[in-house]
Structure formats: C-alpha cells, structure tokens
Subunit: 335 residues, 2 copies
C-alpha cells in the first residue's frame, strides 16, 4: 500500500509508492555523452583558458605544485540575473514585471578537468565551501539583492552544460515565494511546539536511525521522511544557525567531510547519477536553520506532480538510506 | 535584459531570459524510441487485449464500422492511489502519514494505436472530454476523495510509459497545498479588485492580443504572461465556472476544437514535443475558474528552480504564441 507523508515545513504531501523493492542498479545512469564543451583544450574553466571567463571575482592560490589557482569564482557568461540599478516594478495592465537585475556567478571548483566534487581531496572541498561563504558575504553587501542561492547542477539531466566541476551562485532582487513558504512553516511549527522544526527533525532522525546516511560532530545527512525524490538527502548542521555565513572553521571542515562522503556514496551506489544540490540559507529571517538539500535526478515529475505539487516517489527513504550506508568507501588520499 | 514577471495567482516570479531569439526548430525533439510496449499486438490498450486491463469503468460504443469501442476508462494497473477505507492519519513521532487510498484510472482515448490526441477526429476528442466529465462526476460521489486531477503525459520525457494515446485520472484523499495556494491567490485578488483574476487575465489577453494562440466562442488559448515553461499554454473558458463538470454540451464541443487545434499547433511547430496537460478544477471552492494548462517539456528545471521555485524561461510567451499562430493547419476529416 502506498503511503502519504507530510512535509513538516511546506505542509505538502508526498506519496511513497513502492510497488516492489528496487535495487540501486535499476537507477544506474547511462553515461551521458559529455560532448558539450567537454574537450580539455577548449574548456573555459581549465587553466590556460582564463581569458574566456574574464577577471576573477575571487581566486584562491594553487594548492599543488604548478597549479595556477585552486578555486576561481567568475561572472556567469550567460547570466540569468545581471546589471545594475533597482528592480523597479513595471505595471503592464494587470500584470507586474521588473528587470532581472542581480548577480550570477560560477564557482570553478578545481583546476582538474573531469574530476567530480565527490572525488576532490578534502581540503579542496573545504576551499570550495569557503569560496561559497566568501562570495555570500560579499553579495550580502550588494543593495540590489534580496535573496542568494548557491546551487550545483551535476550531469546533463540535472541541467549542467559544462562538464568541468562547478557550482553557481545567483542573487535575486526578490524573495522567492518558496523561501516565504519555508519560513511560514517554521514559524507555524514554532508557535505550536515552541521549537525549531529542523532541530526536532534531527532529534527524530537520530532516534529512528533508519534514514541516516552519514554523521559527524557538526552535521547529519539523512533521507527525509517525506522525500519527494528517490535518494533525496538533506545535510543539516546539528546546531541551528539561520545564516550559512556564520559557520565556524571547524564546522566548515566537517561540512566538507560529510558533503564529500554523501556525494561519494551517491556516486558509488547509483553510478554517478545526475543531481542538483541547493544550499538553503536566508538573510531576511532569523528563524531559519540553514542546510543543504541534494536531489538526484532519477525520476520524472509528470502531469500529476505539475498539477498538484504532490510527488510520487518510488523509493522509500528508509530503503534509500540503507543502500547508501551499505556502500563501502575506500579511503583515498585526503579523505 | 532578462525580465521578471509575476504570476498573479501563485504570486511567484518567473524570469524570462531571452539571450537571443530562438527558432522553434531548436526545440525539435529527437523522435523518442517508442520501444516501451509499443508493439501493437502486445499493447494493453489495443482492441483485442482488453483482458489485460480488466473490466471497464466506462466504455463508449465504437464510432466506426467494426470498432469494438471508441473510449475506455479502466483502473490503472499500477495505481499510485487505491484501496478502500479512510485515509486516517498516523503519527510517527513528529511525522504524519496516511494510507494513499483513492482512485487511479486510465482513459484510453482511441482504439487506434499510434494516433495522437491532436490527430483524432473532432468528435472523438469530444468523446474523450465527455469521458473525463463522466468519470469526474462518478468520483465526486466517492467519499474517500477530496481532490481529483485529470492529466495527460505525452512522450517519454513527459513521463508516459505506454505509447497508445491515454490520459489519467487520480483522486486523492487530501487537498494539495498547490490547490489551496491557487484558491488563496484568487481570493486575494477578489478582495483587492472585486473580480475573478482569471476573468481579468482573459480580458487583458484579448486586449493585448500578442499572447493568444487560438480562440472560439467559448474558449481562449494563450501563452500566459508569466509562463514558467517555453511554449506553456493555458486554455480558459470565457465564462467562469468553478467546476469542469458544469460544462455545457456546446462548450464541450468548443473545448474539443480548441484543445485539438492547440495540440496540433504544438505538434507541427515543435515536432511532436513531449508535454503534460492538467485539467484544473476543484470541488472544495466556488471561486475557482476551471481551465487546462499545457506544459511542453523542452527545458530542465535545475538547481535554481528546485531551490527557489523561480523558473528561468528562455522563450518569451509573446514569441511562443506568434510561432504557434504562424503554423498552417491543413483541415483534415473531422476538423
């Protein structure tokens, strides 16, 4: 029997429809043709081709001999949000529009072409996260912006158009409705229970244990009870902070470790699946509990999902977490 | 410059990012391998194989010589919602679950294998819509259900697993948050302006004219101002009715005509693209304005969309509508 499960934050239901137990191999992704600007010599993110991306907004020095840099942040060449000025509203009859001013940046995560974030050495993953934080702090000062999202598209199916490992940062002049919805959900729970809903979720997950994927001193990675997508994983800091930028140096190291481990487990378990991750934080509310949501792209949202917002998920999160825990990770240099 | 546009109903913004004018041919879809149960003799929806789907919930007599039936509605063999009883809530610690009781039906739209809904003769499209209405009326009496959605997945990318033309009906024991969001948006607009937002949108679209795709006495098809997806189209009845089942026989004929025309324009303009459509109606509110939303699946919702709910759309709706209007439709038998 399929089971409806309620997301405690958005209030939306998910339908866990497990017709039969699936093996992870059923989700193994056919290796995508990596044709899209996949050639080393022409890759705009490779060392030697820096002229293609223009001046860096941030650049960390090379970590290995002969490396010109270790992480670079550059403006997106095809920005979805850009330009100066106010996002002044314009009325077209009953309709409302505004120029999409804002920021759109690319974080080039490594000089090494063809290496996935999950396969980078731990200190390098830490540098990537430090770059997120540093750019986030800079964009906080930008008077055009109301909201900033760090996200990552891995694989063509997840929307990546360049193979070389990178993530993106978009700053928008408006606050998304979805961000308001999350805050309202947190406030509703706070009023009813006097506690942070994410903190209660962490406690519940630790007590239940079945959905946990990884843990360390500062973070927990788990498949949420009302997972909308097969193998969806959330990484939450144990200690609630509203803003990602307030992360401590020790927490940053722990975040690098659990993010790398989780992505590596996904890669090994599902055969390098396409995925998105989103680093959710906010400037406009003090009640948030910043965290990362990882969404492997293994299924299609069809007419039912588009029409209702209710997702059909064919893998129970308890099952997904177990498969991910069962993966054997061979320690490599830097891990 | 990219332009943000606000959806008047959900309040969410969309970013129309037109880097450069695109020709429809850039969206032409590679013909999908139609391997999945595409063989005539094994197709469970073909005449002769009725035993595979079991007893009909509704069956219309054949319209042509030797046709055993024209439309059949059968239970979905792999239902996402099914079973009897109450969807009684079960508390698991802080989490809430409920059995996914409900209905999941398949509308087999024609006995002819390989014919798309857009290519059916007009009276046959009308019969399909009449079947939607009849099943909707039946499910309205089902005490398990709080919400019912008719939807269609066309093409593998849009979630279809069987080629033979069909749509689906799902009845759920809960009201989706998205349905509540739409009603709240309508009520907010009503309070501010004293009018139905969808009625005002129709008036605005007729005045502006640039986004109209097709029109007849009872319906208008247009690319909405804040289209989230390239070539998204809404079909609205001119006269507001909350409930689809209250459609008149004359309106049903007009709906068949405009739906067929719109789908045919999409097919000819974009090379038979994968798409979903959703027939949005509700039982729980009298303020709704029922309508159909068509979403061609030409782009990928990536990390930014998943994280913010704000869509990046690379085709301006004004441009999409013009391309669709410019298609020459050769009248065929029955159209």
């Amino acid at each position: 029997m399929a089971e409806l499960r309620k997301d405690l934050i958005t209030g939306e239901w998910v339908n866990i429809v497990v017709e039969r137990a699936k093996r992870p191999s059923e989700f193994h992704h056919r290796k995508e043709s990596r044709a899209v600007r996949g050639e080393h010599s022409q890759c705009p993110f490779c060392p030697g081709n820096e002229v293609q991306t223009g001046a860096s907004l941030l650049e960390y020095p090379g970590a290995a001999d002969g490396e010109p840099w270790s992480v670079r942040v550059v403006p997106n060449k095809f920005p979805a949000f850009h330009g100066a000025g106010d996002a002044e509203r314009v009325q077209h009859g009953i309709n409302l529009a505004a120029p999409a001013v804002g920021a759109h940046e690319v974080v080039i995560e490594t000089p090494e072409h063809g290496k996935s974030l999950a396969r980078l050495e731990l200190p390098q993953v830490e540098r990537v996260l430090a770059a997120y934080r540093e750019r986030y702090l800079a964009l906080r000062e930008d008077p055009r912006l109301e909201y900033t999202l760090v996200f990552r598209n891995h694989g063509k199916v997840a929307g990546a158009s360049i193979e070389h490992a990178h993530s993106q940062i978009i700053g928008t002049p408006i606050i998304p409705q979805l961000a308001h919805t999350r805050i309202r959900g947190i406030e509703r729970y706070q009023q009813e229970h006097g506690r942070c809903v994410y903190c209660d979720i962490i406690e519940q997950e630790q007590e239940d244990a079945r959905r946990i994927v990884a843990q360390n001193a500062s973070f927990i990675a788990f498949a949420p009870f009302a997972s909308r997508h097969p193998f969806e994983i959330w990484i939450l800091p144990m200690e609630r902070k509203a803003h990602f930028v307030d992360i401590s140096p020790g927490e940053l190291r722990d975040l690098a470790a659990i993010l790398k481990e989780t992505l590596l487990r996904l890669e090994l378990c599902l055969g390098d699946p396409p995925y998105n991750f989103m680093l959710l934080t906010t400037d406009f509310s003090e009640v948030f509990h910043w965290h990362i949501e990882i969404v492997p792209r293994l299924s299609i949202a069809a007419g039912f999902e588009l029409g209702t917002g209710i997702y059909l998920n064919v893998v129970a999160p308890e099952q997904a977490a177990q498969f991910l825990r069962d993966v054997t990770i061979t320690p490599t240099k830097g891990t």
